[in-house]
Symmetry: C2
Subunit: 202 residues, 2 copies
């Protein structure tokens, strides 16, 4: 499938084959592609919690308004972010770059974020969404379907996955083999509503 076809045919799917097990090679490929998503300063501050234990999926389903696809998914991805990523040694992110680039960019990371709690949170949400969209398109290109979800009790899910206090949960993505087609695609707002040319009206 071309990228255009993948974007066109990806839909939010809510019914998966509960007996399907994702082969390890597919999971590894999906993770490899997801990790190619861009991130601010290459911090890769997203964290992917991968859940394939059915008992745990059932527990999370109960914390997600009993939505069946949480349990039926071949793999449930909880898209999280590490809010301390900007504090790591920048060489971890920039060790590949020429020394002059490292010398300029490395020292910028920590001051760019430090003490700016809203920016740090925004970056966790943004980065996990860039990774998550990559994951959903990669999965669809590989013959899987998915459904981004925010309808769940984040505190309850945080407990189930032992979320560290310096991490956040952004959203979750059940991935699996579709058993029922999607609903009709949602109405799209007209371009006049969504696209603004040059400036918002004064």
């Amino acid at each position: 499938m071309t990228t255009t076809e993948t974007i066109e045919s990806r839909r939010s799917i809510k019914h998966f084959d509960p007996t399907h097990e994702m082969p390890e090679a597919d999971l590894a490929e999906l993770i490899r592609l997801t990790k190619l998503a861009p991130s601010s300063f290459n911090m890769q501050n997203y964290r992917l919690v991968v859940i394939r234990n059915k008992a745990r999926q059932k527990e999370i389903r109960a914390a997600a308004w009993d939505q069946a696809h949480v349990e039926e998914a071949s793999a449930l991805f909880i898209m999280c972010a590490d809010l301390t990523s900007h504090l790591a040694d920048p060489a971890v992110y920039w060790g590949h770059a020429p020394q002059p680039v490292q010398d300029i960019l490395g020292p910028m990371v920590k001051p760019f974020y430090e003490g700016k709690d809203r920016l740090i949170r925004d970056e966790g949400i943004r980065s996990s969404a860039l990774a998550g969209m990559t994951l959903m398109l990669a999965a669809h290109g590989m013959g899987y379907d998915s459904c981004p979800m925010i309808g769940f009790d984040a505190d309850a899910v945080a407990k189930i996955i032992n979320l560290p206090s310096d991490h956040l949960i952004s959203f979750m993505i059940p991935v699996g083999k579709q058993t029922q087609p999607a609903w009709d695609r949602g109405l799209r707002l007209p371009d006049e509503k969504v696209v603004i040319h040059e400036q918002f009206p004064a």
Copy 2:
């Protein structure tokens, strides 16, 4: 290009041909594909400010640490969000669905968000990032390149684009025709750091 090839070969590009003008048909196709990104309750709360006026791009470049690709891009997308999307008549988002679905989901939208400022902001950041990642992959599939950016003075850019007070700027994406190759791809953190199986360690 397949989706896998597009994800693998998309890179953050910082040098564009400043004389290239994006044909209207390409812009329309890029917007069409971007609008296929998923959003919570199908609210489509992202807003795309498309800037192709070179004088305005130059102004925004000055507010973005003088980064040349802001001005050289064929089209500069400021990825914004409308923080009041949950207040609209839900029929705008759900008019396509069977009446029983509309009757259940429609009334859920407003109470899900109302009064929850952090959730509303998170949703604007998340939704604009899902749309932005779709845009970057769609653009690359169409023969363009891009570079997600948060390194700019958001207040200054808000003034330039007349951003309404109930909207936010999430990030920006210059899109254009590449003139210089990307740097070596950034180091990727090992799976052990980014992928957590089942639960974080207790």
